[in-house]
Structure formats: C-alpha cells, structure tokens
C-alpha cells in the first residue's frame, strides 16, 4: 500500500487534489481511497488530505502517519507545519517552491524534491492554483500513476478549456519530475 499526505492551505484545493489522485489511480487499475483531515476549514488555514493506493481493496480507515509521499502545495507551510512528520526514510517530500531542495532543512531521511508549480500553473492555466500541477508532478516523481489517467481525471472534473489547460500543466510537471526520478 502506498500512502500519500497532502499539505495545503484552505482554498488551494488539497482535498480536490486527493480526490483526483484517487480517481486517476482507480482509472489506472489500482484501488484508492482519498479523504481530508477533517477540520473546520477556513480559507488560508493549513489543511491536510490523505490518499491511499493499493492493488487490493483498502480497508484501513485511520489517518496516515507514515506517508510514502508528502506533497506540499505552499512552501510557507514548512515553517508552521511539520510536513516531514513520519515520512518513510525511503519516501519523497515534494514541495512547490522556486527554491532548490537544499534550502529546506527538514528533519527527515526522506528525499526532498522541489518544483515551481506556481510558475507552471501561471504559464498554462493563468491562475496560481497548483493542485492539478502537483499531482502531475507526483505522477512524474513516483512513476505510480500514468499521466494520461491524471489528465483524464482532471478534464472530466473540469471540462472544456480549463481542463485542457490544466492537462498541459500536468504534462509539463510530469516531464520535469520524471527526469528527476
């Protein structure tokens, strides 16, 4: 079973990112489960969402404490949330930032990878909404989900031009991170 934790701020679409990952993974032939860390959501406040992927039906219902992957939508969260908490030593922490990974002194054995998802989202979507770009990056860095499944899940959820533009950002993020795998 692969466990993923997504950190974001209220309004950044962390829960949607988790949902889209679950849809894409299922389309890809995996069982999936996505759920938010239930809170009293407020715009801008730290938000956490979880995703599980497995080859067999997923029964476990607890939150995720030792993620294989951590996705951080907003690098300012690193100062307020322990984004590395419990991350597996062989895991990957993917941070949206224009900085290099060396700038993040996280207490973890997991590898830190960075990507300027905000720039990609601005270039292709025209808005700093990075959730779809980051799940494309996740697919690239992990090799766990076919980027076509991610794009089709996103285009189904956001039909028309919006979905198409998001798909371009997803492919660009996938290509960048696949090169680093």
């Amino acid at each position: 079973m692969i466990e993923i934790r997504i950190h974001g701020r209220g309004g950044q679409g962390s829960v949607t990112a988790a949902e889209l990952l679950a849809v894409a993974a299922f389309e890809d032939g995996k069982y999936s489960q996505a759920f938010p860390a239930f809170g009293v959501e407020r715009r801008g406040a730290p938000v956490t969402a979880f995703v599980r992927l497995d080859d067999k039906p997923i029964r476990l219902r607890s939150q995720i404490y030792e993620p294989d992957y951590v996705i951080v939508q907003d690098a300012t969260l690193v100062d307020v949330v322990d984004v590395a908490r419990g991350a597996k030593p062989e895991g990957i922490i993917l941070i949206n930032t224009e900085k290099n990974a060396d700038n993040f002194k996280l207490e973890t054995k997991a590898r830190v990878k960075t990507l300027d998802a905000t720039k990609l989202a601005m270039d292709f979507v025209g808005k700093p909404i990075v959730n779809t770009t980051l799940i494309g990056a996740f697919a690239g860095v992990s090799g766990l989900i076919n980027p076509e499944s991610i794009k089709s899940a996103v285009m189904e959820r956001f039909p028309g031009k919006v979905g198409e533009n998001n798909a371009k950002a997803i492919q660009a993020a996938y290509d960048l991170m696949e090169a680093e795998r």
Binding site: S32, Q33, A34, F35, F38, I58, R59, L60, R61, S62
Partner: protein, 391 residues
C-alpha cells in the same frame, strides 16, 4: 465501479429507491447526502416531493405524515439534528411507519464538535427504530434498499436507520458500484401499505391508548423487532442474489472460527480491525472479529452462537453511557451472555470519541491490555485512547 464521495453514493442509492417524499433541514450539521438529493430533484433526475423544512423536528414530522399517507419517505441527519428529532422518532415507530433515514454518525455537543462518533444514534437506541451500521461506503449505499425492504414488510412496519460514520465514510472518496436502477426495481417492490390516511376512508394513526390497551402496542412493536431479526438476514441474502454483494445479515465475522480473542465492533472501524488482525495473525495471534451489523434488533442468539469458542471478548464503543463507564455494545454483549453457560470475560473499550483517530496501534494496545486477563488482571471497561496529559 466509480470513485465518488460516500455521501454521493448514498444519495444515489436513495434516488434508485424512488422515495415519494424527501424532507431535510439544510444546516450544519448536515451532509452532502441531502445536498446531492436536492440537486437530483433540481436536475429532474429524481421525481419526488423535496421538502426543505425549518428544523430536523419538522423534517421527521413531515415524513411521519407522508408515510402515514402511503408515501415512501427518506431523510438524512446527524448528531444534534438527530437529537432534535428524538420525540418524533417514537411517533414514527409507534405508528408503525417505515421511514428510512441515513444517520451520518457524529458527536454531540457540548463541547462543540463536528467529528465522528456514534453517540447520536446510540442515544436513540430505545426509540423503536431498526439500526444497522455500515462498514464501508458500498455497504452504506447498499443498506438503503435493504432497509426499505425490511421496514416496509407488512410483518415489520418499523422505521429504520442506516448508520454510517461521519466524515470517515460520508466524506471519503473510494471505488463503489452505484446501484443500478434496473436491479433496484427488481429487488424492491413499491410501498403499498394496507392502512393509509385517506379522506375517502378516514382512520386515525397514533390515537389515544389508555392503560387498557397501551401495553399491547409496545408488545407488538417488540414482536415486529423480533420478526425483523429473520427479515434482516433474509433481505441480506436476497440482496446478494440480485446484486451479488453481501456484508452479513445481523452479524458478520472475520477469521472468527478458531479465534481465542474476539473483537466486537460496529461501523467503519471494522476495516482497521481486519488489517490489525491480519498483522497480528502473522505473528501467531489467535484473533478474530465479530461485526455487529444490526444493533436494533440486537442479535442475541447469533452473538451467543458466534462467541461459543471465544476465550476473551473485546468490545469497542464509539459512545459512552455516562454513569456506567461503558459503551452500549459492551452492555449488550454482557447482558446477552449472562443467562447462558458461557463465562467469557467481556472487556469494554471506549474510543474514537469526537473524531479521535483510531490507528492500528490503538487496536493493538487494546488487545494487549485485554490479554492481561490471562494473568488475572481484569479491566471491566475503560477509555482506550485517553490523553493522560490533559486530565
């Protein structure tokens, strides 16, 4: 299969059951179930009278009237909303009206808390409603047609609650089969009660009963609940024949036959327990699960039979009867074993209150604690996940 939110899967299952009247109060605490249903109605995907009422008390009251007039009725509520319905829940059951309601289990205030536990439905234990508890989203969705078939049976005619854990099941996205309309039409006959409110043929429902007759009304409700025991099993099997899915009738089990330690629980924690059992069995642990699906009626005979080889019984409760220091399931299990020859220690653990997460480590800790009984250290019942530093 499609990946959808738990609430959507349930709303869809309600749609294919074709209720005539849906009534709900759309304020926190509510869920996406009634939001999705109102969307179906607005989009003309569903043909029903959708009543957007002014409180949960009105929501259930409207359904009582509609059901008495012969309508198939539905509502969904949670925590404080269910508490506000309390008085009228007795009217629905006393008038023998098969209202079906999804209870999305959430904690009660005070202190204010929106998260999951099962105190809300457990507190309605004695209202005369059937209560089934679901383990996952698919079971939650599949319970809707099952409950209509059970509740509307002329031998039963009791209202019924489908209980699903709030957030954990209502807000999770996971793969489910959305119920097919054609199969549901085959499985579930239209509601055609013998007695209805009809101006052409006036009659009274829930009319005055003095001491000379009141007792017999209660007796007949109890008899109907007794009949529901067999009906719940029968309907679960019929559902399996039509849809090919089965979750147990009154109870279900996992690796129970050879288990010395049996964990009993209800709701979404079942999945986490199964994973814990698999993990501990690899290390040689003799542990099994007895899932309680029907809390009302309580399956006394089925539980006795399932526990006959157990050495230690552990009950998990996401509720507490304050003043008894134990949860409702614990009390039931002890009571149903008393007049038998089975003398098994029953150890109660309360956990998951107000949304406190239940990881595998908590279940392991509980099992280790219960095992102390072998060394003569017996814990009657306790909170399993207290934060000692806050007390």
């Amino acid at each position: 299969m499609v990946v959808v939110e738990g609430s959507y899967a349930v709303a869809h299952s309600v749609k294919v059951c074709k209720p005539h009247v849906v009534s709900a109060y759309p304020i926190t605490p509510q869920t996406h179930i009634v939001e999705d249903l109102s969307q179906f109605v607005a989009d003309n995907e569903m043909s029903c009278e959708y009543l957007n009422v002014e409180s949960e008390f009105s929501a259930i009251s409207a359904l009582i009237g509609a059901s008495a007039a012969g309508a198939r009725t539905y509502s969904s509520t949670t925590s404080q909303g269910l508490a506000l319905m309390h008085e009228a829940l007795f009217n629905a059951s006393g008038m023998r009206l098969p209202v079906v309601m999804t209870v999305v289990n959430r904690a009660l205030s005070a202190p204010i808390n929106i998260w999951n536990d099962q105190q809300d439905s457990i507190s309605q234990r004695d209202t005369g409603w059937i209560q089934l508890y679901a383990e996952d989203v698919q079971e939650s969705a599949d319970m809707t047609p099952q409950l209509y078939k059970i509740a509307e049976d002329e031998e039963i005619l009791l209202p019924a609650m489908s209980c699903m854990d709030g957030f954990i099941l209502s807000h999770v996205y996971e793969p489910v089969i959305l119920l097919e309309q054609s199969l549901t039409d085959e499985f579930l006959s239209p509601f055609s009660p013998e007695f209805v409110l009809d101006p052409e043929n006036p009659m009274s429902f829930g009319a005055f009963a003095d001491p000379s007759t009141y007792t017999e009304f209660r007796y007949k409700q109890e008899k109907a609940m007794g009949a529901a025991l067999a009906k719940i099993e029968e309907v679960a099997n019929e559902f399996n024949e039509v849809y090919g899915r089965y979750y147990g009738g009154l109870i279900d089990s996992y690796l129970l036959d050879d288990a010395e330690i049996v964990i009993m629980a209800m709701g979404s924690v079942i999945g986490t327990i199964k994973d814990t059992i698999d993990m501990l069995r690899k290390e040689g642990g003799s542990i099994g699960l007895l899932k309680i699906r029907s809390f009302r009626p309580f399956p006394v005979e089925a539980v006795r039979s399932a526990l006959k080889n157990a050495k230690i019984v552990i009950t998990l409760d996401k509720n507490i009867s304050i003043g008894k220091n134990e949860g409702a399931l614990c009390t039931e299990v002890k009571a149903c074993l008393y007049n038998t020859n089975l003398r098994i220690p029953v150890i109660g653990f309360m956990l998951g209150h107000g949304g406190r997460d239940i990881p595998i480590s908590t279940i392991v800790k509980i099992i280790n604690k219960a095992k102390l009984v072998e060394k003569g250290i017996f814990v009657e019942s306790e909170f399993a996940d207290l934060r000692e530093e806050l007390i």
